[in-house]
């Protein structure tokens, strides 16, 4: 069966939307369609109302010459794949200025200037660079407690991954590497087990088992990843962290 890009995208957009952090108030439609394994025009229209995610998909799709909901497009955005390399940095720069609401234009300019134009349209990079350029992480008196809160927020907002160790009724125990924030920047901590929610009504979670690797967003297991996807998510996340640490280093050196 051909993998469905609409459902893949919806799986990853679902939890922050249900928490009210992005996208339209869609009154449970995404969950119903995920549980029914239904990709349909109404769901597509709902997903187009996401203020940031949908413009990112359009950007990647345009550069790659693919349909917006071709599976590889949301896969590039949430997980990472070679389509990210096809987006010209000039297009991403222009896009970041004109299509993403809420970001300070000066901060956007700073990100691109300080990274010498190396910046991928990857969800994790967007999340981490938002925190890195905020007023908080470079404050001179930042406390350890504040660092922990920032690390937790980054960890929840990014797409992380975990290896399933135990399957419960609606909860998985997964081995993950959380984001750590300290004076040297961001890093991934040593593996630890945490609990995340999942919905057994959403395919393929009725068959999830120990050893599977799942993608996670806001403590919710979004999908079961293939080995290639798991490798890509780890690789692109690692690259994002290196870039963001460069961003934070150059901020430090400017002081």
């Amino acid at each position: 069966m051909k993998a469905d890009g609409v459902l893949f995208h919806a799986k990853h957009a679902f939890m922050p939307n249900s928490l009210g952090y992005c996208g339209p108030d869609e009154k449970g439609q995404i969950q119903r369609d995920l549980e029914g394994d239904r990709s349909n025009e109404e769901l597509v229209q709902t997903l187009k109302k996401f203020e940031a995610a949908y413009p990112f998909l359009r950007l990647i799709a345009k550069s790659a010459g693919r349909q917006v909901f071709d599976y590889t497009v949301p896969e590039a955005y949430w997980i990472g794949n070679r389509l990210l390399d096809l987006v010209p940095v000039s297009d991403f720069y222009s896009f970041s200025h004109h299509e993403i609401k809420g970001r300070d234009p000066e901060k956007v300019r700073e990100v691109f200037r300080r990274l010498d134009g190396v910046a991928p349209p990857h969800h994790t990079f967007y999340v981490m660079s938002t925190y890195a350029t905020s007023a908080v992480p470079d404050g001179p008196n930042i406390t350890n407690q504040a660092r922990l809160k920032i690390a937790e927020a980054v960890d929840n907002c990014r797409i992380s991954w975990g290896t399933v160790r135990r399957v419960g009724k609606e909860e998985l125990q997964v081995e993950v590497r959380r984001v750590n924030v300290d004076e040297r920047g961001l890093s991934l901590a040593r593996p630890a087990v945490k609990r995340v929610r999942y919905n057994p009504e959403v395919r393929p979670f009725a068959k999830v088992r120990a050893g599977d690797v799942v993608s996670i967003h806001w403590n919710y297991a979004c999908d079961v990843l293939t080995p290639r996807q798991a490798r890509n998510l780890a690789r692109y996340t690692d690259a994002d962290i290196r870039l963001v640490n460069r961003l934070m280093e150059s901020e430090e050196s400017r002081k």
Binding site: A13, P16, L19, G20, Y21, C22, F50, E51, A52, A53, F56, I100, K101, G102, R103, H123, Y126, V127, T130, Y131, S134, A135, V136, A146, K149, I150, A153, N156, C157
Partner: protein
């Protein structure tokens, strides 16, 4: 995915707050402890964490920017 949103703190309790965003929505349980925002402050929020306190001038600019975006998109703004 999360978007950066600006809004006003209308209630705080133990470092958590209700924030009314310029886009007309509101969320409870925003963590404002890291930026130590008080009732009446304008904050920038990403996910459920306030990342910065905005000056009145910056808040006004952000609100106006939102109104213009909403107008362009044909969205009613209260």
């Amino acid at each position: 995915m999360c978007v950066t949103r600006a809004g006003k703190v209308v209630y705080t309790s133990n470092g958590r707050a209700r924030v009314e965003f310029f886009d007309g929505r509101a969320l409870d349980d925003i963590d404002v402890s890291v930026v130590d925002a008080k009732k009446g402050a304008f904050v920038e929020v990403f996910g459920n964490l306030a990342l910065g306190v905005l000056s009145s001038a910056e808040a006004k600019r952000r609100k106006q920017a939102w109104i213009e975006v909403a107008k362009a998109a044909g969205v009613a703004h209260e």
